[in-house]
Amino acid sequence: MIDKTTTVSKALENVTCGMSVMVGGFGVPGTPFLLINGLLGSGADRLILIKNEANEAGLGVSLLLEAGRVSRLITSHLGLNSLAIAMMNKKEIEVNFYPQGILAEKIRAGGAGLLAIVTDIGINTILRREENVVQLDGREGMIEPALRANIALIHAAKADRAGNLVYEKSARNFNPLMATAADLVIAEAEEIVETGEIPPDQVHTPGAFVDHVVPIGELLPEYGVLKHHVR
C-alpha cells in the first residue's frame, strides 16, 4: 500500500531559498501552522509567498514576513495585518494584489495545466493592463496567467495514508486549489486514517495530487479560536 505519511522535516528537506510557496487558509481556518513553523525553521529565505492574506501579526505566515524570509507576497487582502501593510509601504516586501476569486482562478488554472484565464474583473479599474486586453465576441477581457509554485503547504482535517484529503467547514477555502498547483504538495492533517476509510465520494483532494502527509498530532494553540474575533 502507498504510505505518504512523514515528518515535517522530511517533507520540507528539499526546500531552498528563493522558492515559491503556496499556503492554504483564509484567516486561521485552513492555515497549516505546523508546516509554516517548519518552513520558518528551515531557514529558507527570499521566498515568494502565495496566500489569500497574511494571517495577522505574530501568527502564521506573518512570522515568515516578520523574520525577513519573504521577498514577494502574492495575495488578495492584508486588511487584518497592519504589520504586513507597513512592510509593504516601507518596500521591505513586494506585494502583488489580485481580486480574491481571480487569485483562486489563477492558482486553479496552474493546477489544471492551463496557461491562463481570460476575465473582465477589474477591466475598468486601475488593474487594467492594456497589453493583456483581448476582444472576445465584442467583450473585453484580460489575460491572467496561471500561477504555480514549487511547494504547496496544505491543511486538512483528515487524510488517509494514500494522501486523500478531507477539509472541514470554512477551512477548505484555497487548500484544494493549491493542492493541485505545486510541484511538491505537502499536507498536514489533524487526523490520519487507514487507506480505504474515507468514502471515495467524500474525498475533497484525491491522494494522487499529494506528495507528503504530515500528522499534526496535538493541535498547537494557533489553531484555536482567536479570542479577539469573538463578539
Binding site: 484567516g27 477589474g122 479599474t125 486601475i126 470554512s170 477551512a171
Partner: protein, 217 residues
C-alpha cells in the same frame, strides 16, 4: 458612527431582500442586516470564503475554530448549508448566481461607479472580494453613511478615487436617504424622517431627481 445610524441603515437594507435570494453581506453595516429580517424569510447567505448558508455570529462559547465568515467573525450555518472552495465560491458570484450584494463605499458616482478599496498613499489593504461582488452581483446596494467623517459628500458627480467597478451600484441606503441609480442618473426615493430635503440635497454632490412618491423611512 453611532449604533443608531448603523441600525437604521441595516433595518432599511433588510427590506430589499426577497424570499429565496442568494445574498452576500459585506463587512460593517451589512453584517447587521440579519437582525432585521423576518425570522422565517428563506434566503441563502453567501460568504466569500466558501460558505452558502451562513448563519448568525456566534457567542464565544459556541465559536468553531473552523468556521468563520469572510470578515473573520465566528459564525454558525443554517440547515441546508454547503461548504465549497474559494474557486466555486467566486464562480457563484461571477457566474451570475448572486442575487444581491451589500457593500460599503468611500465614494459613489452619479453613474453608479463605486470606489471602496483604495486611497492611494493612505489606505491600500488589498482587493479581497470587493471587485467581483461589485462588478458581478445581479443587484448591488451600497450601505454607507451619507458623508465622510469630515462631513464631505460621498455621493458625487464623479468618483475621485480609483474605482472598484464601473456602473455597478443599483441603490444607496444611508442614514439620510434611499437613492436609486437609474441609467440616466440618481433618483431620491426616500428620506429619513430625522432629516429634510434641503439637508439631503446639500450633503449630496450628485444631482438627485426627486421621486414623485417620495416617502420617509
Amino acid at each position: 458612527m453611532s449604533v443608531n445610524i448603523k441600525e437604521k441603515i441595516a433595518r432599511r437594507a433588510a427590506q430589499e431582500i426577497r424570499p429565496g435570494q442568494v445574498v452576500n453581506l459585506g463587512i460593517g453595516i451589512p453584517t447587521l442586516i440579519p437582525d432585521f429580517l423576518p425570522p422565517d424569510l428563506p434566503l441563502t447567505i453567501h460568504s466569500e470564503n466558501g460558505i452558502l448558508g451562513a448563519g448568525e455570529i456566534t457567542l464565544a462559547a459556541k465559536a468553531d475554530r473552523n468556521l468563520i465568515d469572510a470578515g473573520g467573525a465566528y459564525i454558525s450555518v443554517v440547515p441546508g448549508a454547503a461548504f465549497c472552495d474559494s474557486a466555486l465560491s467566486f464562480s457563484l458570484v461571477r457566474g451570475g448566481r448572486l442575487n444581491l450584494a451589500f457593500l460599503g463605499a468611500l465614494e459613489v458616482s452619479e453613474q453608479g461607479d463605486l470606489a471602496n478599496w483604495i486611497i492611494p498613499g493612505k489606505f491600500a489593504p488589498g482587493i479581497g472580494g470587493a471587485m467581483e461582488l461589485a462588478q458581478k452581483a445581479r443587484r448591488l446596494i451600497i450601505t454607507t453613511t451619507h458623508t465622510t467623517k469630515k462631513g464631505e459628500a460621498k455621493i458625487l458627480k464623479n468618483c475621485t478615487l480609483p474605482l472598484t467597478a464601473r456602473r455597478c451600484v443599483d441603490m444607496i441606503i444611508t442614514e439620510l436617504a434611499v437613492i436609486k441609480v437609474e441609467p440616466d442618473g440618481m433618483v431620491l426615493t426616500e428620506i429619513a424622517h430625522e432629516t429634510d430635503l434641503d439637508t439631503v440635497l446639500r450633503l449630496t454632490e450628485a444631482p438627485l431627481e426627486i421621486a414623485e412618491g417620495l416617502t420617509t423611512f
